[in-house]
Amino acid sequence: MTATRTGAGPTLRAWLLDPAPASRRQARLGGWFRAWLAFQRNTLGMVGLAIVVLLVVIAAGAPLIADPSTALTQVLEDRLQPSSWAHPFGTDELGRDIMARMAFGARITLTIVLLVSLIVVPIGLAIGLPAGYFGGWIDAVLMRLTDIFLAFPRLILALAFAAALGPGIENAVIAIALTAWPPYARLARAETMTRRRSEFIQAAELQGASHLRIIATQIVPLCLPSVIIRLTLDMAGIILTAAGLGFLGLGAQPPSPEWGAMVSTGRAVLLDQWWVATLPGIAIFITSLGFNLLGDGLRDAASGRG
């Protein structure tokens, strides 16, 4: 007897775990639920997920946490104040509330992470999938192109791009994305090559499926999990590169509350007013750690599923 979806608690669980699903939707939701159950067993992965969710909540609810104006308005008589009820995280060298700036800075960090992902994954797949699928000269050309980009040191190329295109978040994103895609292309190529000779691909060919259809419906679903895991593990590096560019003045520009730029301005007063540089630094550290733990958890869940 199939339980209906309206059933609460154990009934919904039974519906999701039903070994004989009655619809496409039930099968798909059941698959996700099983993946969630596998992931849930990983404590550190759950900690990472909690950190990332917290970051998203802070970014979304930033105006509720702090008055947007306090993040940007300079109050020079309140400069470099230590922690107090009015300013729990203190104030910076221009009298701006650090907690407000960190909350709004979460938005910038998430925007960078999201934009880089949206650029890097499609480029990586667009280069790696045809290379692995067709092989031959297509593979050779695409992979040499990838090798060229891999040969550039990441931060240096990002610096050069930021310097050439002018400082700013958009250019930082482009600079990071241009240096971050090659590993994804190689990953997608390797994943494609291991599946290329599979019998289910041959069966699809035999059915008359076009190359595009085989890549999109048969290969991409198998590549995506490892790409997403890799992306999550790379997030820390992306956040650090963005913060590094901000620190060097080539990323987000003042008065934008980007964490790296905040660390950079706090550097001058590090010994006497430690919180100005340290608190955004801790935010960078915790966020990077969260993404790393989440990525590790996802990887364990994916490999454990067999």
Binding site: G31, F200, A203, Q218, P221, L222
Partner: protein, 264 residues
Amino acid sequence: MSIDLHQVTVTYGKGAKRFDAARNVSLSVGAGEAFGLVGESGSGKSTVLRAVAGLIAHAEGRVMLAGAEMGRKRTTAQRKMVQMVFQDPYGSLHPNQTVDQTLSMPIAIHKLGDADRRVSAALEEVGMGPTHRFRYPHQLSGGQRQRIAIARALILEPRILLLDEPTSALDVSVQAEILNLLSRLRRDLGLTLLMVSHDLAVIAHLCDRIAVMNRGEIVETTTADALAAGDVQNPYTQQLLRSNKGFDPSGGDLDLLDAVPIRG
């Protein structure tokens, strides 16, 4: 629909590295006939099957299906006539797709329409019910997976079904089920079968005429009855018969079951 191969040669590599996986293979299978190719691993039998399927291009010779010569690239209509069941039911189904998705794709490719009815009809045809329709391959047994692979091949209503050792990855009891299913489908749908196996018993169960391959060449073409009677000319075929000890459709070897004491 008939299959005719004339002097088909399939090669890999070029120059000094050239390797003929199949050499000057000629055979003719009439419409509705079941034809078997036997040989040990590397004898080229699967290569011939893949050349018929159009999965690998043949270097020389002619592949004719229903009297029409097949070019290097098959058209969608030509694809629809020939379908194949693969050896390993664990590798021939996409691991992340439900039975429903696997069976719906060929319908979408050929724009046949009426996907829902076709999928449930195909499942019924291979003895599976609606309870299996939305399962993933890992939720099915090997025999069930092979039934799904057969349903996928048949959903396009092909005239020729190619079988690449369809039972070798299965338990003996399940092997019989799949073989019986295949012979019923052949009878009901009037399919032409071309089957590859190293197992003479399996081939003889399904096929009327049998070609024996060795090192890429057909060494002898015979019938299932002649093979069962041991009435073969070629020394390689005789050797193959001996190595397939236990192959005896008359059931003589079954006496062994009584002779071996069963330990509790």
